[in-house]
């Protein structure tokens, strides 16, 4: 306390965190000063979100220590973090939709008279003061369920402001905001700063970084790359730091000449998700979909699978049909998907590994129309995939899939999609959260699929994965297809620039 202005508000020391198969943070150390707006930058999966979760008490760290305001920070829950003076705005605001704006702002720390009776008068006054500053259009009595995402962000911000936190962490708050709302947000950030509080600001928009922040920290692959005053960086430098070393063309085996189009998408549109998306996937081709989380990539894949409705546009499926309204019909038309989230969207935890593999390929091992299972054919499919993917441990066909490691679960899920007989596979982050060995193996199988004449649409947040596998990379930015890059002719810098929506901007600025 006596050390004066130099004492940081938060000191992170050697923070590490791993999830099964991945090291999300490795030995990260940096400081956040008082009255400072601190930008946290990094590509998808760089570790920003994990760091935020650790700071806000949502997940425990594996090792390292945090000093907050002069004393160690060991909070076990977001509530405890808030008590210490750390408030957090998540990408998806954590609010109770059925309650009003005012009730949400004071949830858990209502201003009370005796016997837990809420002091409405005081509460209303304090809410009015905050809303007036950041969202004059919102009424305290509105139900949160009726608000747009960006308005909810502002309510979450109001909640953080009234909590009188010393440190406010904002995880991409501006992603869904209009320009006017962003102005209010920036106003609130300036107010916080002048009140002596600090803000950690996460964004992918470099304009915002250069415009509002004082200090920049860049993370890459879970490692701390740099921390320095914003004025010391320009756009180009920041992109370079985020992208990392420039990987030139990767050595890889040539694939046979690419064949006829299997999947043709024309002018796909779904409001709030994506628009004017047109592309083809040809036989023997791996098409990458690059973009930020939330750019609309998974939504495009889900719409093609018939899991979400398309509002406009047509998809021609491998079978030739253009009418698909459920995933079951899509599988029949020759398209299968590996969804993004293994736990909630792809494995059936209580079923055996074998049954999980068999789930999409009923016609190949059962007698229509009653669907009587031919045990021998079914066992053959299971055995074939255990061999092909060397699923570990061997002989676990009849074990519940939840007892296997993430990588082996993912292999079973890939086996399921392949055994459906699909001509085109939509793979959404197929190697997320799997260990290095399983990842290499899955990559090998994806290449094998293309070599066998299948079409693959590969969604990945990992630049290197796309560069290593994709023949063409389509870049999706805020729901639009903004670029198409030949997989061989690009490098990670160009790809990251495109993904951030920065490609070509440098030139534009230079011209000005």
């Amino acid at each position: 306390m006596t050390s004066g202005a130099a004492a940081p508000l938060v000191a992170l020391r050697s923070i590490s965190k791993s999830y099964p198969g991945v090291a999300a943070l490795r030995d990260v150390s940096f400081d956040i000063g008082p009255s400072e707006v601190h930008a946290l930058l990094g590509a998808n999966g760089a570790g920003k979100s994990t760091l935020v979760k650790i700071l806000s008490g949502a997940v425990p760290r594996d090792s390292g220590e945090i000093v907050f305001d002069g004393s160690p920070l060991n909070v076990a829950s977001p509530h405890a973090a808030l008590e210490r003076g750390i408030a957090c705005l998540y990408q998806e605001p954590a609010l109770v939709p059925e309650l009003t704006v005012e009730q949400n702002i004071f949830l858990g720390r209502e201003i009370c008279r005796r016997f837990g009776v809420i002091n409405r008068f005081d509460q209303r006054r304090s809410v009015a003061a905050v809303l007036d500053r950041i969202a004059p259009r919102l009424q305290p009595t509105q139900r949160v369920a009726d608000l747009r995402t960006s308005e909810r962000q502002l309510v979450a911000l109001a909640k953080a402001l009234t909590a009188d936190a010393r440190l406010v962490i904002m995880d991409e708050p501006s992603a869904s905001m209009t320009d006017a709302e962003i102005e209010f947000l920036f106003g609130a950030i300036r107010d916080l700063k002048s009140a002596g509080k600090s803000v950690v600001y996460i964004t992918h928009r470099l304009d915002e970084v250069l415009g509002i922040t004082d200090i920049v920290t860049v993370l890459r692959d879970g490692k701390h790359i740099t921390t320095g005053p914003t004025s010391a960086f320009d756009r180009g430098k920041l992109v370079e730091l985020i992208a990392g070393s420039v990987i030139e063309k990767t050595d890889r085996a040539m694939r046979p000449p690419i064949g006829k189009p299997l999947l043709v998408a024309r002018n796909l549109f779904r409001s709030g998700s994506f628009s004017e998306i047109s592309f083809e996937v040809r036989a023997g081709e791996i098409v990458g979909l690059a973009g930020l989380v939330g750019a609309g990539r998974s939504e495009i894949a889900r719409a093609i699978l018939g899991a979400d409705a398309l509002e406009a546009g047509t998809v021609t499926y491998p079978s030739g049909t253009t009418v698909v309204s459920t995933p079951a019909e899509a599988v029949e038309a020759g398209v299968a998907m590996i969804p993004e989230d293994r736990k909630t969207q792809s494995v059936i935890p209580a079923m055996t590994v074998g049954d999980n593999i068999l789930l999409s390929s009923a016609p190949h091992y059962s007698i229509a129309p009653l669907g009587i299972i031919r045990r021998k054919a079914a066992n053959e499919i299971i055995a074939r995939n255990f061999r092909r993917f060397s699923i570990n441990p061997p002989g676990s066909e009849q074990r519940r899939i939840e007892t296997l490691s993430g990588g082996n679960q993912q292999k079973a899920v890939l086996a399921r999609a392949i055994e459906s007989g699909a001509e085109v596979l939509l793979l959404d982050e197929p190697t997320a959260g799997v260990d290095v060995g399983a990842k290499a193996e899955i990559h090998r199988h994806i290449e094998k699929l293309a070599a066998d004449g299948k079409g693959v649409l590969l969604i990945s947040s990992e630049t290197e994965e796309l560069l290593a596998l994709a023949d063409r990379i389509l870049v999706i930015h805020e729901g639009r297809l903004i670029r198409e890059i030949e997989g061989h002719s690009t490098n990670s810098l160009e790809l990251v620039q495109s993904v951030l929506g920065e490609y070509g901007k440098e030139k534009l600025n230079a011209d000005r």
Binding site: L305, A307, T326, P327, A328, A330, V331, E332, A336, M337, P339, T344, Q345, S346, V347, I348, P349, A350, M351, D355, L358, L359, S360, A362, S366, L370, G371, I372, I373, R375, N379, A383, G395, E397, Q398, R399, R416, S420
Partner: protein
């Protein structure tokens, strides 16, 4: 060498399957059944007799048939509260049909009418759940009330008599005289049929997959809506069949019958080790659950335990069984 390899693998698979079918959960369940039998054999004179044994089987048949079909619903993560009403309505309709079809060969048709009524009732449940996205508990709560109301309307609230004698064949007849009553035969056939569909057809796999993780099943191409509708049709048809058996045994259509059958059915299925949230359970477990309920009721009747106490005991049996199960699961997780 390769043959050696595959045969050893086969053996492993077989052994695993064996281990699965005699899993600890099942053993515990059947141990309870044996324990109950041993207890009443000692405590209740006349319990261990052929006549009483037949009696238990005949009494449990109605509950068992309804519970087998409803197992599909519960295993898929659904719930059907309308079973009792469905059984009553189907029984009434079946009896009414029998009255109209008073000629040789008319009775079997009236039985079929009752079962068909149950299936249609179930189809309506399934359609409400899958098309109008109303949660199963609300949807079937609604049809529970509607079904009971319709049955009362049809009978005017009184027992429907004047049913031809031949109608009673299903409930009172024997396949093998004095040895195998028809309802018990139906129960055994249903047991095998339901086991076969759940374990040996794709529909069965789909039922478990939807109960285990509906979104994953849907994205894998499982026709979720169709399967869920079928599950209610199966549950409804067996409820209808149970209602017909009961009406046939009583020789009349009674709108107020089978009240609370749904709760007995759910109790039996949960006793049998199924999770109420779906994804797990076995038809053999359901059979054990029905046996536990029926043996307790029978034994206590012989001991002249007043019916009110019997309810208390059955409820406690459910809580103890599920409590032990939860305790074991939590311990094994640690």
């Amino acid at each position: 060498m390769p043959t050696d390899d595959s045969s050893s693998q086969n053996l492993v698979t077989k052994r695993a399957a064996l281990a699965r079918s005699t899993a600890a959960a099942d053993l515990g369940l059947w141990a309870v059944v044996v324990l109950i039998i041993v207890f009443f054999a000692i405590a209740a004179p006349g319990f261990m007799s052929w006549t009483n044994f037949l009696n238990v089987l005949r009494q449990m048949a109605v509950l068992a048939v309804a519970a087998f079909g409803s197992s599909f619903v519960i295993f898929s993560g659904g719930l059907d509260l309308s079973i009792g009403s469905n059984a009553a309505l189907s029984g009434v309709l079946s009896a009414m049909a029998a009255r109209e079809l008073d000629f040789v060969g008319g009775a079997p048709i009236s039985w079929l009418v009752g079962m068909l009524c149950g299936a249609v009732f179930g189809w309506i449940n399934g359609t409400i759940v899958t098309r109008f996205h109303i949660s199963p508990i609300i949807a079937t709560l609604g049809t529970l009330t509607i079904g009971r109301g319709l049955a009362l309307l049809l009978t005017g609230g009184v027992s429907l008599f004047g049913v031809p004698e031949s109608f009673q064949g299903l409930g009172r007849g024997f396949i093998i005289p004095a040895t195998l009553p028809i309802p018990v035969g139906i129960m055994l056939v249903m047991l095998i049929a339901c086991w076969f569909v759940l374990r040996r057809t794709t529909l069965g796999t789909y039922v478990y997959s939807i109960g285990g993780n509906e979104e994953a099943a849907r994205l894998s191409g499982v026709p979720v809506r169709r399967v869920k509708t079928w599950v209610y049709v199966i549950g409804g048809a067996t409820a209808g069949l149970a209602g017909v058996i009961l009406a046939s045994r009583l020789g009349s259509g009674q709108a107020a019958s089978s009240e609370g059958l749904e709760l007995m059915v759910i109790t039996a299925i949960v006793l049998g080790g199924a999770s109420i949230s779906g994804g797990s359970g076995r038809i053999g477990g359901t059979l054990a659950g029905v046996l536990i309920i029926s043996l307790l009721a029978n034994g206590m009747s012989i001991l002249n335990v007043p019916p009110f106490y019997q309810r208390v005991v059955t409820g406690m049996a459910l809580l103890i069984a599920v409590g032990i199960d939860q305790f074991r699961k939590r311990r094994s997780r640690r």
